[in-house]
C-alpha cells in the first residue's frame, strides 16, 4: 500500500514538474515595446503612436522590396473589403534625387498583381519625420473584377534614402470608402520618429 502511495505521489510530482516546465516556457519575443501614452518603440529604432484597437499587426520578415511592418483590419462588406497600412524602408523604384521621380517609378509596380486603372486624386507636399515629403492619393479600379482601391502614399527621407508609408483600402465597385482609416494612417506616419541612424547611414558614416 505504501509502495502504491509512493508511486502515485511520484506520478503526481512528475505531473506538477511537467506543468511547471510548460509554465516556464520562454515568452515569445516581440520586436516592439508599448510605452505609456500609447507609443510603440519598434526594435529600439522607431517610435510611433499605436493604432486604435481592431488593427492587427502585419509583418514581413525580410526580402527584396518587402514592407517592414504595418497594420490591417477587415472591413464590413465581405471580400475584398480590407484596409492595410504599412511603413516601407525600401519603396518600389530607385530614384533618390526627387520624390516626383520616385513616385513615377513606384506607381509602375504598386499593386502590380491587380490590373488597375489608377487615377491621381491629390498630390501635395507634406512634412514627414522632420523633413519634406510628398503625399499622393490615388484610386484604382478593376472593372473586370468589380473591385476598387483607394490608396495614399507618403514619401519621406531617412538620410540619403527615400522611405515610404502607404495605405490601401479595397472595396467592391459599389462599396463606400471609410476615410476614418486614412486619419489613423496619417496619425501613424505623423507620429513616426527614428530613434537611431539607419543601417545605411551607419554604413556610410563608419567606413
Amino acid at each position: 500500500m505504501m509502495k502504491k502511495g509512493l508511486t502515485i505521489l511520484f506520478f503526481l510530482w512528475v505531473g506538477v514538474w511537467l506543468s511547471g516546465c510548460a509554465a516556464m516556457e520562454t515568452p515569445k519575443q516581440v520586436p516592439y515595446k508599448v510605452m505609456p501614452g500609447g507609443i510603440v518603440v519598434w526594435e529600439d529604432e522607431i517610435e510611433f503612436k499605436i493604432p486604435p484597437p481592431g488593427w492587427k499587426l502585419l509583418r514581413v520578415e525580410s526580402g527584396e522590396n518587402d514592407i517592414n511592418f504595418g497594420f490591417m483590419r477587415s472591413d464590413p462588406g465581405g471580400f475584398p473589403s480590407v484596409t492595410t497600412f504599412a511603413y516601407d524602408e525600401e519603396p518600389f523604384g530607385c530614384s533618390a534625387a526627387s520624390f516626383e521621380g520616385r513616385e513615377r517609378e513606384f506607381f509602375k509596380r504598386f499593386l502590380f498583381n491587380a490590373i488597375l486603372q489608377f487615377q491621381i486624386l491629390e498630390r501635395k507636399k507634406v512634412q514627414v519625420v522632420g523633413g519634406e515629403g510628398l503625399q499622393v492619393d490615388v484610386e484604382g479600379k478593376d472593372p473586370v473584377k468589380g473591385e476598387k482601391v483607394r490608396a495614399r502614399v507618403v514619401f519621406g527621407k531617412r538620410g540619403d534614402r527615400i522611405i515610404g508609408f502607404y495605405i490601401t483600402q479595397w472595396r467592391t465597385m459599389d462599396g463606400v470608402y471609410d476615410l476614418s482609416a486614412f486619419e489613423v494612417f496619417d496619425r501613424f506616419w505623423g507620429s513616426f520618429k527614428f530613434l537611431k541612424k539607419s543601417f545605411y547611414q551607419t554604413l556610410v558614416e563608419n567606413p
Binding site: 525580410s62 526580402g63 527584396e64 522590396n65 525600401e90 518600389f92 523604384g93 530607385c94 530614384s95 533618390a96 517609378e105 509602375k108 540619403d160 534614402r161 543601417f199 545605411y200 554604413l203 556610410v204 567606413p207
Partner: protein
C-alpha cells in the same frame, strides 16, 4: 535589380561594380533595364555558358537560377548566395572586402 540600383552609390564607395547577367536577349534587356531605371550593365547570355561557370543553370528551362556572386579583383569568387539578394549582407561583405584590400 532595383535594390542594386538603389545601392550603387554605396557599391562605389566600397570600390565595387555591379553587373547583371540574364538569358534574355539584348533587346529585351534594353527595354527592361530602361523601364526599371537600371544604369549598370546587363549582360545577355542566351547560350547560358555562364550558368555552367556559376552553377545557375535550370535543367530544361532557358533561365538562370537567381544567385548573387561577389568576385574580387584577382578573379576569385568570395561570396555566393542563392535567392533574393540580401542587400545588407552584401554591403557588409563588400565593406569588409574593401578593408582587406581585396577590392571586388
Amino acid at each position: 535589380m532595383e535594390g542594386h540600383q538603389r545601392n550603387l552609390y554605396l557599391y562605389d564607395r566600397f570600390n565595387a561594380r555591379v553587373v547583371g547577367v540574364s538569358r534574355d536577349d539584348v533587346t529585351t534587356l534594353k527595354y527592361w533595364g530602361k523601364d526599371l531605371g537600371v544604369t549598370f550593365p546587363l549582360l545577355s547570355n542566351i547560350t547560358g555558358f555562364l550558368g555552367v561557370t556559376f552553377d545557375t543553370l535550370v535543367e530544361g528551362k532557358p533561365i538562370f537560377r537567381r544567385r548573387t556572386v561577389i568576385i574580387d579583383k584577382t578573379g576569385i569568387i568570395r561570396y555566393s548566395r542563392d535567392g533574393s539578394p540580401d542587400f545588407k549582407d552584401i554591403l557588409l561583405f563588400l565593406k569588409k572586402l574593401n578593408h582587406e584590400g581585396g577590392k571586388p
